[in-house]
């Protein structure tokens, strides 16, 4: 095998991230007193006792930070963080950056002297050089701060500790109400007056929430203030010095994550959008957060700006305290933006163990140099605690989200296929792991040691190769399995069912032809589409025609099979009414080659709508349909896929008959879980048989009312299939969406009859699996079908100690039948680091993956536990993770300060989104079916999908100049970010809204909708008129490109401001309080902070 790869220079397994130098510590500005549990906190149902758990006492810091004396540290960090924040803010804002930079410098000295670690942004830290601690983002809760404010006393310490209890109580109250009455008070004294920001944004400064970065600047008391100062006032702050006093007194504590808020003040352009409320602020945040991850070499340089900071302060403005500044809290947009800027430009080279890849939202290229691309595997953490004790302490789930057949961008080569000949792939004799780059060759190449189980195996003679002086095989770079993270083996007959090479798979289209399906026009539409679609069945490589055979079944209360043998003049229909004992009535002529039987198939598809045009049959069956498809595949001895197009609850007398058991009264009761559980066990049994046959089921639902998705989706779910749901299907409105989904679904490349096994090196073990598949034992994931969109999430647990040096290895092996009928093994390898310091763990986490795992965990949990329990569990776990960090990794600081690890600063906002999702907190308009549907969708989503699903993208369309062709920068999903003079697109992977502000310029309306005024726009419109102007083209182009990014077609809904559809739209503004009782981001952050403090105290 010749692999023309240039020898990839494998970077030594050094520490992966030099970048992470900085240690961010956040000090809680807040006061310890904050205990108050506001009853008002409706969303959370009051304080949950559970949260109080671990009161982490001591201040154990990360090593680096430790250097400084406690007291000093406290201050130091604050200062630094502050700087950091600023710096970041700049970066993000782009233009503003310069300003920040300037400031930084000024601070830097300070910081360096004092506390290196504190700084939130690694970048910032870097300059400081010393402490390699992980970046932390500290945030103070507003409440806390307030209190802090009260206790202005000691500038330095004040922040952290100062807060008088009284304040605390105040703070307590605030979380709920947006008012934050307490704040005003606290702040008022200090800041408020001077600045005099009245109405507008309240107290942003208080920022309690800002959470993220704010590390209380440890450094001089003064600084603190300055820092804070800036924060509060928002832009005005500028003058650190001046502000100092203020800060101290007031909010200082808030410490937003670094630079965030403050930055705004001076230099940076005034905040455009939010003008109304927080004019100044915008800048800030973004900047600050961005850099989280990376190595921010970039940052380093820019920082000079620090100095500027100082200068800025000058114009301290009045800060009307009051409310947490939404801009001050960690912003997903900013984080995404920063990652994109920092990491999007260079390819991600996988050679180094334990590297955290760029975010899923970042476009980047991957160079495989020995580890699987993050497109295949993403982990919650790339640095695993060495012991289970550590892991338990941290509570960070160790999980990998694996997408074995992920589609790659055209620039990246798909995995090489390796043929080891008749003997089959080379494997470890003991643990059966496949040959991979981590295997060690010894004894001159005659043997190799398994990297998973340490067993020494002989190298078969035909595989022998000499080793070079480094102990590497000379041919290492010629062999994909010795040099790449992902590759495929050709399987031998031993890997095939019944020891027979598989035949090419088959697709069976099973169409509901009951009254509803006919009336809605579905059948006609579908048949018409299939005629052309069948020419595009998946084919492998350069094959001229697809090997996939097709078959057709229609059904209502009985099933109709069709003989479409090429030799027939007319198709033949065979009715099977024995639905109680389904079987396949024909063999020959049922599954046919599309080209050969073209004429007969066309004739059939022409006739189906006619034949049933007058049907009055409204009852349908379901289980027998699947059974039939499965039996057909069994009879044909092949794997395959069923495409079911189904309209109604199967109430006809047959196995799998269902009754309508929808009952909204069950919501929020202990019985709510039954809504997610299948009605009958029959479908599980059926699914099991399907899996055994390699029969994957894709279900397209067109319900007009309750169809019990929870039950109907059991088989698709367990067979690795997909469910698509088009409620109240109307050809005119839903045609495009359905056809687009159908085309994609039919054309996509699928692996059949697959078995996936995840092997790990000694010390950890895969214990739990989430996704659309079936497991008959505890290790093998069986997938009747697996496509490039399906993801399997695997959780690991320790069963032994890990070794820092050797790290931990994962090998995911997927045995499958390609769509041409070839049996293959796809192998993905990934090496992770192991750590003995918790800080390393927190520095190498990936929040998006974590959320993916937690969502799946929770969504599975609702099957067995009341939803409330599930939600509480999530909150508790999240609080524990953060509390553990606070306790063990963050530099000591005021308890009132919320300190979030840099890598996890978005955890609260994302978690809140999960908690607010339809499954866990349904709104009144969400049907039981919707919930079940979403539940099962999420189960096999990859990280990118969950990311956007839980935190939708909101894109302003009219902000940037029309000529600008790049995608506009997203804004945060909150109503406050919407300006009524603009138009926005919102998408979450399933839905797509175009929101039109009430006072959008007429010209814009004209060029986009072709009508003259806002009032003439049709609400609910789903297609934009094709108009020949720049704006129209741009918007439509953008919509198209968004759709192209998602695995499902998103139907556009135009929503006008103040229109009744807006309620629906607002549901997706996840940072806001939701109608169904979901907390706003700010509220939730406060709540989270409270939970953490309870754990710590």
């Amino acid at each position: 095998m010749n692999l023309n790869q240039s020898a990839p220079p494998v970077p030594p397994f050094g520490q992966p991230q030099p970048a992470y130098l900085g240690h961010h510590q956040s000090s809680y500005g807040g006061q310890p007193g904050s205990t108050t549990a506001p009853t008002s906190y409706g969303a959370y149902n009051g304080p949950v006792p559970g949260y109080q758990q671990t009161p982490p006492p001591g201040v154990s810091r990360a090593p680096p930070s430790s250097g400084a004396p406690p007291a000093s540290t406290a201050q130091g960090p604050c200062g630094q963080t502050a700087y950091g924040q600023f710096g970041q803010g700049d970066v993000q804002n782009g233009p503003s950056s310069t300003v920040q930079m300037q400031r930084l410098p000024g601070y830097q000295p300070f910081g360096s002297a004092i506390l290196a670690p504190v700084v939130s942004q690694p970048a910032v830290l870097q300059p400081y050089g010393p402490p390699p601690t992980s970046a932390q983002v500290t945030a103070q809760l507003a409440g806390m701060q307030i209190s802090g404010a009260v206790a202005p006393a000691s500038p330095p310490s004040g922040l952290g500790y100062g807060p008088p209890t009284s304040l605390a109580s105040a703070s307590g109250s605030f979380p709920n109400s947006g008012l934050y009455g307490s704040y005003p008070q606290g702040q008022a004294p200090p800041l408020g007056q001077p600045q005099g920001h009245p109405g507008a944004q309240p107290p942003q400064r208080s920022v309690p929430l800002q959470a993220s970065s704010f590390t209380p600047p440890a450094s001089g008391g003064p600084r603190m203030p300055s820092m804070t100062g800036p924060l509060l006032p928002g832009q005005s702050f500028g003058g650190p010095p001046v502000s100092q006093p203020n800060h101290v007194s007031s909010p200082a504590p808030q410490v937003l994550p670094a630079g965030t808020q403050m930055t705004g003040p001076p230099g940076p352009p005034p905040p455009p959008m939010h003008s109304s409320q927080q004019p100044g602020y915008q800048l800030q945040q973004n900047g600050s957060y961005g850099p989280t991850r990376g190595p921010q070499s970039n940052y380093g340089s820019p920082y000079p700006g620090a100095a500027a900071f100082g200068s800025q302060p000058g114009p301290p403005q009045p800060l009307p305290p009051k409310r947490l500044d939404p801009d001050a809290i960690p912003s997903p947009i900013q984080v995404i933006e920063d990652d994109r800027n920092n990491r999007g430009s260079e390819p991600f080279v996988t050679g180094v163990r334990g590297q955290v890849p760029p975010l899923v939202t970042t476009d980047f290229l991957v160079k495989d140099q020995g580890n699987a691309s993050p497109r295949y595997i993403r982990c919650t953490s790339y640095n695993i605690p060495c012991t289970s004790d550590m892991a338990k302490q941290a509570q960070v789930p160790l999980a990998a989200v694996i997408k074995p057949l992920a589609r790659l961008p055209p620039e990246e080569a798909s995995p090489y296929v390796v043929d080891h000949g008749e003997s089959g792939p080379l494997r470890c004799n003991r643990c059966k792991a496949y040959m991979c780059p981590f295997m060690q060759f010894v004894e001159g190449g005659r043997r190799f040691q398994c990297c998973f189980c340490s067993c020494i195996n002989d190298v078969p003679p035909q595989y022998f190769q000499h080793l070079d002086h480094t102990g590497k095989r000379v041919d290492a770079y010629d062999r994909p399995e010795l040099s790449l993270g992902s590759y495929e083996f050709l399987a031998t007959v031993d890997y095939c069912k019944n020891n027979k090479f598989p035949s090419p798979p088959a697709f069976i289209f099973m169409i509901d032809v009951s009254y509803n399906a006919i009336r809605s026009g579905l059948v006609r539409l579908l048949c018409e589409e299939l005629k052309s679609l069948l020419d595009f069945l998946p084919r492998e490589g350069g094959a001229e025609e697809s090997a996939v055979r097709v078959g057709f079944v229609t059904y209502n209360k009985v099933l109709h099979f069709y003989n479409v043998k090429s030799s027939l003049a007319q198709p033949q229909m065979m009715v099977v009414s024995d639905v109680g004992d389904m079987f396949v009535p024909l063999l020959d002529g049922f599954l046919v080659n599309v080209n050969e039987s073209q004429a007969v198939i066309t004739s059939l598809l022409d006739q189906i709508p006619e034949m049933f045009a007058d049907t009055r049959e409204t009852e349908t069956v379901f289980a027998p349909v699947i059974q039939a498809g499965m039996e057909a595949l069994k009879a044909a001895e092949c794997a395959g896929k069923l495409f079911l197009f189904h309209t109604s609850l199967p109430i006809a007398e047959a196995p799998g008959k269902l009754k309508n058991r929808d009952d909204r009264k069950l919501i929020n009761t202990d019985k709510e879980k039954t809504l997610f559980q299948p009605q009958t066990g029959a479908y599980q049994t059926l699914a099991k048989e399907c899996v055994a046959q390699g029969c994957c089921v894709d279900l397209f639902l067109f319900p007009n009312q309750y169809v019990d998705v929870a039950t109907l989706s059991v088989v698709p779910q367990l067979t690795g299939g997909s469910v698509y749901k088009y409620a109240c299907f109307q050809v005119e409105n839903d045609q495009e969406r359905f056809l687009s989904d159908l085309r994609r679904d039919v054309q996509k490349v699928v692996g059949f009859d697959a078995v996936m096994r995840v092997r790990t090196s000694t010390g950890i073990r895969a214990v739990d699996f989430f996704g659309a598949f079936y497991m008959s034992n505890t290790t093998d994931v069986e997938l009747a079908g697996l496509d490039g969109d399906k993801t399997v999430t695997v959780e690991f647990r320790h069963d032994d100690r890990l070794n820092e040096e050797s790290g931990a290895l994962l090998q995911c092996a997927l045995l499958y039948t390609s769509c041409a009928g070839q049996r293959r093994l796809r192998i993905h390898n990934l090496a992770l680091n192991c750590c003995t310091q918790l800080a390393d763990l927190y520095r190498n986490c990936e929040t998006d993956t974590l959320i993916n795992y937690m969502a799946k965990f929770a969504y599975r949990g609702v099957l067995n536990s009341p939803v409330k329990t599930v939600r509480d569990t999530l909150i508790t776990q999240c609080a524990q993770i953060l509390a553990c960090y606070r306790k063990n990794c963050a530099s000591p600081s005021s308890a009132g300060q919320l300190i979030l690890p840099e890598c996890m600063k978005l955890l609260p906002v994302y978690l809140n989104c999960v908690l607010k999702s339809d499954v866990l907190q349904p709104g009144a308009e969400v049907t039981t079916d919707d919930r079940a549907y979403v539940r099962q969708l999420v189960t096999s989503m990859d990280v990118a999908e969950t990311n956007v699903f839980f935190y939708p993208r909101l894109l302003p369309l009219t902000k940037s100049p029309i000529e600008n062709t790049t995608e506009p920068p997203a804004v945060r999903a909150s109503e406050e970010r919407l300006s009524n003079g603009d138009i926005y697109l919102l998408e979450n992977g399933l839905n797509l809204f175009l929101w039109v502000g009430a006072s959008v310029q007429q010209g814009v309306v004209q060029s986009l909708f072709g009508v003259s005024s806002f009032s003439q726009i049709t609400s609910g419109l789903s297609v934009l008129p094709v108009l020949d102007n720049l704006l129209s083209k741009k918007v439509r182009g953008l919509i198209d490109s968004l759709r192209a990014q998602r695995s499902r077609y998103m139907k556009l809904i135009v929503v006008k401001q103040e229109d009744k559809l807006e309620t629906l739209f607002k549901h997706f503004l996840v940072e806001d309080k939701s109608l169904s009782g979901g907390a706003s981001y700010v509220d939730f952050l406060c709540h989270m902070h409270k939970e953490i403090r309870q754990l710590l105290s």
């Binding site: 099977v576 009414s577 024995d578 009535p585 006739q607």
Partner: protein
Amino acid sequence: MATYLEFIQQNEERDGVRFSWNVWPSSRLEATRMVVPLACILTPLKERPDLPPVQYEPVLCSRPTCKAILNPLCQVDYRAKLWACNFCFQRNQFPPAYAGISEVNQPAELMPQFSTVEYVIQRGAQSPLIFLYVVDTCLEEDDLQALRESLQMSLSLLPPDALVGLITFGRMVQVHELSCEGISKSYVFRGTKDLTAKQIQDMLGLTKPAVPVHPARPAQPQEHPSISSRFLQPIHKIDMNLTDLLGELQRDPWPVPQGKRPLRSTGVALSIAVGLLEGTFPNTGARIMLFIGGPPTQGPGMVVGDELKVPIRSWHDIEKDNARFMKKATKHYEMLANRAAANGHCVDIYACALDQTGLLEMKCCTNLTGGHMVMGDSFNTSLFKQTFQRIFSKDFNGNFRMAFGATLEVKTSRELKVAGAIGPCVSLNVKGPCVSENELGVGGTSQWKICGLDPTSTLGIYFEVVNQHNAPIPQGGRGAIQFVTHYQHSSTQRRIRVTTIARNWADAQSQLKHIEAAFDQEAAAVLMARLGVFRAESEEGPDVLRWLDRQLIRLCQKFGQYTKEDPSSFRLSDSFSLYPQFMFHLRRSPFLQVFNNSPDESSYYRHHFARQDLTQSLIMIQPILYSYSFHGPPEPVLLDSSSILADRILLMDTFFQIVIYLGETIAQWQKAGYQDMPEYENFKHLLQAPLDDAQEILHARFPMPRLDSFCLK
């Protein structure tokens, strides 16, 4: 009066009835001593070209338990317009329509020559004939092709308004919907699952919940066709469609692995056919025609497994109780046969295969419903083709020689009771005053159902004389029997044929000679044979033979003239002279001997024996051997090897087979080609004569016999 022979013949001609005794012993005791029971061979629908049906309904005796039909034996008071029933002596008023009768103006049914009258019933809806083809597709391509052609041919023979349906089966069973345009549509059933009639009808969508969609409409006439129309269509509407469908009929597509039999779901197919008709046309004449090319190998009614290495059951297996599936299968088919019979549907079986096809298990389907059973080696033989064609032969009026859904009722005068019937019928279980407690054949009833019959279908009906010895019948007294056959004529008319016969009573002690002389030994032989064969179905072979022997001995004892201890003194009167010979041949006939016959063959032979008329039955019992020579016209010769002579041609007719045997010399002549020389034209004629005669037999017989021609080399 002429001889009894003539009397018998005349009666047979006129009424289709032959009695074993034409003078009846007048008491029960004496009757039992006669050994051969008082019984008759009845051909209910014997063709009577000279008997035009009357276009009115029969007049019934008003006594509810009697309901005998007015007949020439009744006493009529023309003045009072009264008639007395000759069975129960009830006096009845003539109906108004008969107001004008008088001695000179008699309706036909009162004239003595009209002892048999056929009435046409005008009321009631006429339903068309129904033919449901049930076709096995597990055939070799040749066979299938031949069968396809035969079936297509048959379509052209059907009356245009006949309803036809098609079910095909192999591993699965397909019920073809014939009404649809474009796509051909069929309902498919698993071949392994026994379904109840209800299930079948549900699955075929025949039990549409009575949705009163158009309550206003008089639904009755319209609904009926609409429901059934999907599977049973008038031939004129779907002729093309069905012809194409048959043309496209494929061999069962499921692969048959090496060493296996194809999976054939005959049991389910038949069950569905029965269920389909049951749901759509109960109590309407219909013919299910089952074509099979092998044994049922799966599902209910399976006769043999699909492993080729396990052969199908033989008599040996059955005797050893080694036939695993036989009992269950038989039960299945019996159940079906009874259901079909209850609904008036008859089942034909056309089995063409080299090996057995399970006729043993399936025989009840034909036997109980009056269907045909045809056995051949292949569908691609003229034997099958012509036999099948013959089913659709027509009579002189252009009507099919078939009738459906008949019930035969027997009424007797009080000295007699009816003990049972043997033939293609089932009991209707109608008890009545004239039903005997003793059963001979299918008894315990005075009515039988014959779902399918043709002009040759013949039943044996057995009676019991119940008159007590001490209640003598006055001299000249006559016993009477009335046979009433309701049936659906092939012209779809409902008809009733009434035959009323009377015979003299005689005191067996004083008038034994009379009785003896009136013995019909041919009828008696056939009737005894039927009894024997009937017994053989349920009893061990040797027991039956022993019983036959004993009967013969007793008969000879009773009627023979002999001197004790002197065998050579034994004499039997003329009227008995042939009887022992019949019994001799019967004993070694395939009806009682199973040696060298498969169970299927035995069933086949017995089936035909139980339904053929007297002449054919006698041929079956005792084959006919004719000898042809230059010395004169053909002459019957003994069934003996001594009949084989070098210069003779022999023609043997065993009913199932016709053999022409050329004597040695003849064969040599033929080989030498003398027949082609003009000067030896007489030789040519000689050779031709038996062939012509054979053709004549072939022409008239159903099923077609096998014709073999050979000579010793």
